[in-house]
């Protein structure tokens, strides 16, 4: 049985920055914060499904921002996640045209916090479109690119994880897959702008 443990903020941030124990840290974020953030959405016109979707995005955004050194620890992880959750949900409500007057008033009354990466969070649709483009890549391409650029595995490990003969073949395949994805993204300049926002903030 897995031991349920509350991680201090410093441990969460430190591990995300180093990319170590990511599964454990993500699970800890769920155990420590899902209930309260879910409650907030369900009490602001959202369903359980909305809350789950938004929480996934909160975790993704949080990890992404920490890894890009955009979380400076000016607020606690809890406060930061709450702000992300609120901003993402308000953007979603606006998109659906369901933002309630009191929620908009609440938003206006809020001071800007560390978690206000509005241009990133507001471009939820753009981000989803980027992810859809990657999704459209073939399974092999996705696997190679993810193992190399996301998991940071060395070529020899990727050879073991795939059916390719040797590192050079994998390297060539990876190059082709990368260029293929680049071309797919090039087809939509808006997606490039979304990626620029995600990359440079």
């Amino acid at each position: 049985m897995e031991v349920i443990k509350n991680f201090p903020d410093s441990e969460i941030v430190g591990n995300i920055r180093s990319g170590e124990r990511m599964d454990e840290i993500i699970k800890a974020l769920y155990r420590m914060h899902f209930d309260s953030l879910c409650w907030h959405i369900m009490n602001n016109s959202g369903s359980r499904e909305d809350a789950e979707d938004i929480f996934q995005e909160v975790v993704v955004s949080f990890i992404d921002l920490v890894q890009k050194d955009k979380f400076r620890g000016e607020s606690s992880v809890k406060t930061f996640l709450f702000s992300l959750n609120r901003n993402l949900w308000l953007n979603e409500l606006k998109r659906k045209g369901r933002a309630l007057a009191r929620e908009e008033k609440f938003e206006k009354g809020q001071e800007r916090t560390e978690a206000d990466f509005g241009h990133q969070l507001a471009d939820r649709e753009g981000k989803l479109a980027v992810l859809n483009v990657v999704e459209r890549l073939g399974e092999t391409c996705k696997k190679i690119l993810l193992l190399f650029y996301y998991e940071n595995l060395p070529m020899k490990d990727i050879v073991s994880a795939t059916d390719f003969e040797n590192e050079q073949v994998v390297r060539n395949k990876k190059y082709k897959c990368l260029k293929q994805l680049e071309q797919m993204l090039d087809a939509n300049p808006i997606l490039k702008q979304t990626l620029k926002n995600l990359l440079h903030g």
Binding site: M42, V130, F148
Partner: protein, 256 residues
């Protein structure tokens, strides 16, 4: 991208992957600083890599999400409906009101004193409203009118006047001087005398001010008995003065 070759593309991917030797890496960086087309091509690769990383992170979280939802299903979060929220809000407001009212009542309970209750019911007896002919006034009545309460008591005790009026005014003077026992004694004497003679002279006044004397003296049961009698008698001159609030306050003093 006419000048941009396939070799350039491969070189940039290798630079992106961090697999170039120091010399080649330095050459690429030099070109990145000087060649806009080269730099744009690299930026495009960076964005493509970013797309992969975003996808990877999303997939990683989505994979863990499923497992966590299964784990957390054992303690599902209840959705709070608008009606339920309204009930909760109403209960909160009611609870706050109860606390507020309770605090107010507690404050009243503990800040209440015999002196406060006495003062709320006491009004100096104004002789001029009861009598008009000052020429026939007794020496005690004159002293009382002049608010010489000490003199009134001294004159009465010296036997200057033993009338019921003198008895009453001495009781009132004793009340003004905060001599409760003396006031009680005089009022009781007057009431007893009236009962004996089957008269009512100053009787209503004596009963009311006797009850006030009891209050200030801490004899709450006696005060309550007398005040209830006054309240039950609609013809009593002080009937309207005996309010439910006054009776409640005396009971509170008694409980304390």
């Amino acid at each position: 991208m006419d000048n941009f070759t396939h070799n350039d593309e491969e070189l940039l991917v290798q630079y992106l992957d961090g697999v170039l030797d120091e010399h080649t890496k330095a050459e690429v960086e030099k070109k990145l600083n000087s060649d806009t087309e080269f730099r744009n091509a690299y930026e495009s690769l960076l964005l493509t890599k970013e797309a992969v990383k975003q996808y990877g992170l999303k997939e990683k979280v989505a994979g863990i999400h499923k497992g966590m939802m299964k784990e957390m299903q054992q303690a599902p979060i209840r959705h709070i409906s608008s009606a339920r929220r309204a009930v909760r809000y109403t209960i909160s407001v009611a609870a706050a009101l109860i606390v507020l009212i309770g605090s107010f009542m507690l404050y009243n309970f503990y800040s209440l004193s015999a002196e406060k209750v006495f003062n709320s019911g006491f009004q100096s007896y104004d002789l001029s409203t009861a009598r008009g002919n000052e020429e026939k006034e007794s020496v005690i009545a004159k002293a009382y009118r002049s608010k010489k309460f000490d003199d009134v008591v001294k004159l009465y005790e010296a036997g200057a006047d033993s009338s019921k009026e003198a008895m009453f005014l001495t009781g009132m003077s004793a009340l003004e001087l905060k001599e409760n026992s003396k006031a009680i004694s005089n009022f009781k004497m007057l009431i007893a005398a009236n009962q004996q003679n089957n008269e009512k002279l100053y009787n209503d006044d004596a009963e009311y001010y006797l009850s006030l004397s009891y209050i200030r003296n801490g004899d709450y049961d006696f005060a309550l008995g007398l005040l209830h009698k006054i309240k039950d008698d609609s013809n009593h001159r002080y009937n309207k003065k005996v309010t439910a609030k006054l009776l409640r306050q005396i009971k509170m003093l008694k409980w304390r």
